[in-house]
Amino acid sequence: MIPMTPTDAGHAVDAVAPTALDHILWGVFPYVVLAVLVGGLVWRYRYDKFGWTTRSSQLYESRLLRIASPMFHFGLLVVIIGHVAGLLIPKSWTEAMGVTEDMYHFMALSLGTVAGVCTLGGIVLLIWRRRTNGPVFSATTVNDKVMYLVLVMAILAGLATTLLSAGADLTGGHGHDYRETVSVWFRSIWILRPDVAAMAASTFAFKLHVMVGLTLFMLFPFTRLVHAFSAPVQYPFRPYVVYRTRDQHPNRSERVVRRGWEG
C-alpha cells in the first residue's frame, strides 16, 4: 500500500494524474447513478406504488428470519451511520473537536468490523434461508437474486477495506486513509465539481467498494430495496386511528375518464 501524505487543505496529493477511465468512473458515473436513483424513485412512486413493499416472507418462515433480519438490518444501520460520519464529516472538523486520528481510527475500525460482520452474517443467514426454505425460495425472483449478488459484493468489498485497514494497523503500519481520498471525492460530487483525482488516488479495495456501492444505488428503485426509502419514521407522530373520507376524486392524474353518457 502506498502511504499517503495528507495535506492540511483536506485535499489528497495526486500520486498519478487521473486517466480517462478515472474521469468516467468518478466524474461521470456518480451523476448517472444519481439520475437513475432519483429518476427511478420518482418513476416507481408514480407508476408502481402497488409494488413498493418489503415483500416480507415472514408468513413462510419465521424462526430464522427473527434472528437473521434484525441482525442484518441493525448491523446495516450502524454501517450506514458510519458511512455518513466518515464521508460527510470532514477530517478537519473531527480534529477540531479534539478527536485524534488514532481515536477515530480505533472507533471506526472496531465498530465498523462488528457492524460489518453482523451485516454479513445476517445476509448470509438470510440468503441461506432463502435457498433452503422451499416456499421462500420459490418466492425469490431473478430481480432478488441480482440484488443479493450486488448487495453481498458491496458488503464484502466494504468489509475488506475495513479489515485491510485494521490489518495494517495491527502490523504497526498505517492503512489507507479514505477520509483523505474517498470522502473528499464524495463531498465534491454534491457541489458538482467532482474531485476525480482524489478518488483516483484511493486504493483498489476502496475503488471496488465504491463501484459496487454505486451500482447498488442504481438498483435500489427497481428492486425490493426500495422499501428502505419508505421507512415509517412518521409513525410515532401520527394519531393512532386514521380516518379518511372517501376519495371524491380518486387519484386520477394518469387518466381521463369519460362520463357514462359520453360516446
Binding site: 406504488k49 402497488f50 413498493w52 413493499t53 418489503t54 415483500r55 416480507s56 416472507s57 415472514q58 408468513l59 413462510y60 418462515e61 419465521s62 428470519l65 427473527r66 434472528i67 437473521a68 433480519s69 434484525p70 442484518f72 438490518h73 441493525f74 422451499g134 416456499p135 420459490s138 418466492a139 422499501h227 419508505s230 415509517p232 412518521q234 409513525y235 410515532p236 401520527r238 393512532y240 386511528v241 386514521v242 380516518y243 379518511r244 373520507t245 372517501r246 376519495d247 376524486h249 380518486p250 387519484n251 386520477r252 394518469e254 387518466r255 381521463v256 375518464v257 369519460r258 362520463r259 357514462g260 353518457w261 360516446g263
Partner: protein
C-alpha cells in the same frame, strides 16, 4: 360545538357506521358465505389461505388456529394501570424496533398450507396396475404435501375432545365442558372483519396505510400505501387482516364497499342461506369511543359501547348529525336500521370479544339452540317458557361459554338475551296455536307484547329491504347521473382494458362500443332482480356476472345465420 342530548349529556362529533348483526340460531354452518366471499374477493394467488369470511364451529379452535389466545398473539388493546389504552403487542417505538421481524406474526401453518391436487396425473400417468391418484400439492412450495389442517378442520366438532380441548375458551372454562355426544353443545360462528370503532389494526400500521372511512366506518387498507410491514396482522385480535404473500401487501374484508356504496348488502349477507345477517347504519359519538374503550372493568365494555351509539330518533342527535355533515338520508336510514333495533332497542345482539377493546361493529344474537336442543333431547317441550327459563338457569356451561365470547365472561347479558329469545318462542307459539296473547311472558323479560312481535318479525320474516337498510353513498339521483362511474375501475385509465382497449382503441369484440357505466348497470340490474319475483330483464349488453341463468338475453350467443349480428345496434 357539542349539543346536549335528551339524556342531558353533550353529543360530541357524530359519525355513521354501516354495521352488521348475525343471528346465530339460524346459521346452519353451510359455509356459503365463505365460499361466495372467496369467489368474489380472494380467489387469487397469494390469497389462497385467506378467508375474509370464515365460519367456525364452537367450541372449536377458530381460524387461524387459537386466534383468541391473546397471551400468545397479543392482538388488540390493553388498559394500562394509568387508565390509558396501549396496543397489547407494544407501543409505537417497540413496533419500530421489531419491524425487521415481527415477533408475533402467525405463520402459514397457523392458518393452513393451501393446496391443490395434481389432477394432471389422472390423465397423464403411464399405464400401470394401480389407479392413478391426484396427490395434494402445496400452493406455497409446489411440493407434494400431506393435508393435516385447514380453515375448518374441526368443523362440526370433528376431532372431538382432542381438538376441542384446544379452544382457548374451553381451556379457560376447564374440565366442565364436555365433548361426549350426549353432553356437548355446538353452534356456528361466522366471522368477518368487525370494522371496529377503535381498530387496533389501523393503530398498528406504521405506514398509515390503513384507515377507517369517515362516511361509513369501513376499515380499509390502501394498497398503494401499504409497504408490507405486516404489523396489522398482529394488531388485529380477530386475525382478520391477512398478508398477501404474492403482492407483499395486507388485505382484509372490505365490507364489500363497492356494493355498500350503491345500497347493496355484502356478498356474504346476500348469499346467506339462513338469511341471518342484517346490515344497517349506527350513529355514534366518536368523542366517547376512547372513554368507552378504556373502562376499567371488562364487563362494562359492552354497556359502554352501547352507550356510544346514539338514538337516531332523538331530534337532538339528528341535529348534531346534520351539524357534522351526515346526509339526511343516512339519518333516515339509521332510524330504520335493523342493527340499531337488535343491538340497542331490543338488546339481543352482543359484540364479539369486547375485551379486546377494539369496539367491534359486527354483533351477534347468541344462539338459544344449545338450550332448546338439550330440552328436546331430554324429552321436554322446547317451546315452553317455564322449561326454557329453567334450562337457561340450569345449563351453565353453554351460557358461560357464550359469555366468554360476547360479554367478556359476564353471564347476565347473555342470560337476558336468551330469556328474551325464549319468551319470544313461547309467546309466538301461543299465537300460532290460536291461543290468547300472553303479555306476562313479554313482561317477564322486560318487553311488551308488541315489542316481541316486532322483534319476531325482524328475526323471522323480515324481507330483503328490512334486513338490509343501506343508504347509498351518493343518493340514487347521483347514481343515475353517472357519478358512481367516476369512482371508476382501476382498469379505466385512458386506453386501458376498462376503457375499451388494451392500450388502444379496439373496434370489435367484447370491448367495442360505447363504454357503459358498469356499476350503474349492475346496480339497477341487481336491484330489479332482488326486489322482483319474476325473471329479471337484463337490458343491453350482457354482463355474465349479472346473468341469473334464466332466459337468453340478447348478445349472449353469437348471431345465428339468419339473424343480424347483435353487435350491429351497439356500434356507435
Amino acid at each position: 360545538m357539542a349539543t346536549p342530548s335528551a339524556s342531558g349529556r353533550r353529543i360530541g362529533k357524530v359519525m355513521a357506521q354501516v354495521a352488521m348483526v348475525m343471528n346465530l340460531d339460524k346459521c346452519i354452518g353451510c359455509h356459503t358465505c365463505s365460499v361466495t366471499c372467496k369467489q368474489a374477493w380472494t380467489n387469487r394467488s397469494g390469497m389462497e389461505y385467506v378467508w375474509f369470511n370464515n365460519v367456525e364451529t364452537r367450541p372449536g379452535q377458530g381460524y387461524p388456529r387459537r386466534y383468541e389466545d391473546q397471551e400468545k398473539w397479543e392482538g388488540g388493546w390493553v388498559r394500562t394501570p394509568g387508565g390509558k389504552l396501549k396496543l397489547k403487542a407494544g407501543g409505537r417505538l417497540k413496533k419500530l424496533a421489531t419491524i425487521f421481524a415481527n415477533p408475533k406474526m402467525p405463520a402459514i401453518q397457523d392458518y393452513y398450507e393451501p393446496w391443490t391436487y395434481d389432477y394432471e396425473n389422472l390423465i397423464k400417468a403411464p399405464l400401470s396396475d394401480d389407479m392413478p391418484v391426484a396427490r395434494p400439492r402445496s400452493l406455497i412450495s409446489g411440493e407434494p404435501m400431506n393435508v393435516t389442517w385447514s380453515a375448518n378442520w374441526d368443523d362440526d366438532l370433528g376431532g372431538g375432545e382432542e381438538l376441542g380441548r384446544q379452544d382457548p375458551i374451553v381451556q379457560k372454562l376447564g374440565e366442565q365442558v364436555r365433548f361426549s355426544f350426549e353432553e356437548t353443545f355446538m353452534f356456528y360462528l361466522p366471522r368477518i372483519c368487525e370494522h371496529c370503532l377503535n381498530p387496533s389494526c389501523v393503530a398498528s400500521c406504521p405506514s398509515g396505510a390503513m384507515y377507517k372511512r369517515a362516511e361509513d366506518g369501513i376499515v380499509l387498507v390502501d394498497q398503494d400505501k401499504c409497504r408490507g410491514w405486516r404489523m396489522c396482522v398482529t394488531g388485529c385480535p380477530y386475525k382478520k387482516v391477512y398478508f398477501n404473500h404474492k403482492t407483499g401487501k395486507a388485505e382484509k374484508c372490505t365490507l364489500c364497499y363497492p356494493r355498500i356504496e350503491v345500497g347493496m348488502p355484502t356478498v356474504c349477507s346476500e348469499t346467506c342461506v339462513g338469511r341471518l345477517r342484517y346490515l344497517g347504519v349506527i350513529l355514534y359519538d366518536v368523542d366517547r369511543v376512547g372513554e368507552a374503550a378504556t373502562v376499567e372493568d371488562e364487563h362494562d365494555l359492552y354497556p359502554a359501547q352501547l352507550d356510544v351509539f346514539l338514538d337516531p330518533n332523538d331530534p337532538e342527535v339528528q341535529e348534531a348529525a346534520r351539524r357534522d355533515g351526515i346526509p339526511d338520508r343516512w339519518i333516515d336510514s339509521a332510524k330504520r336500521s335493523p342493527v340499531y333495533a337488535l343491538a340497542k332497542k331490543y338488546k339481543v345482539a352482543l359484540p364479539l370479544h369486547p375485551e379486546y377493546r377494539t369496539m367491534p361493529m359486527v354483533w351477534y344474537i347468541p344462539p338459544l339452540s344449545p338450550v332448546v336442543d338439550t330440552l328436546t333431547k331430554t324429552g321436554h317441550d322446547g317451546e315452553d317458557a317455564g322449561n326454557l327459563f329453567g334450562a337457561i338457569d340450569a345449563l351453565r356451561i353453554p351460557v358461560e361459554y357464550l359469555a366468554e365470547l360476547f360479554t367478556a365472561g359476564d353471564t347476565a347479558p347473555v342470560d337476558s338475551v336468551l330469556r328474551k329469545l325464549a319468551a319470544m318462542r313461547s309467546y309466538m307459539r301461543r299465537i300460532n296455536l290460536g291461543e290468547e296473547r300472553d303479555e306476562s311472558l313479554a313482561e317477564a323479560v322486560g318487553m311488551s307484547g308488541t315489542d316481541i312481535e316486532d322483534m319476531y318479525r325482524l328475526l323471522a320474516i323480515a324481507k330483503y329491504d328490512e334486513r338490509y337498510v343501506i343508504p347509498t353513498a351518493y343518493g340514487v339521483d347521483d347514481a343515475d347521473r353517472g357519478v358512481i362511474e367516476e369512482i371508476g375501475c382501476s382498469l379505466d385509465f385512458e386506453g386501458g382494458p376498462g376503457m375499451g382497449g388494451m392500450g388502444g382503441p379496439v373496434p370489435f369484440g367484447e370491448a367495442s362500443g360505447r363504454p357503459d357505466a358498469a356499476s350503474v348497470e349492475t346496480f339497477h340490474a341487481l336491484k330489479t332482480r332482488q326486489t322482483s319475483d319474476g325473471r329479471s330483464d337484463l337490458k343491453g349488453r350482457v354482463n355474465l356476472l349479472n346473468w341469473d341463468g334464466n332466459g337468453k338475453p340478447d348478445g349472449l350467443f353469437p348471431p345465428s345465420d339468419n339473424g343480424a349480428a347483435p353487435d350491429e345496434k351497439e356500434k356507435p
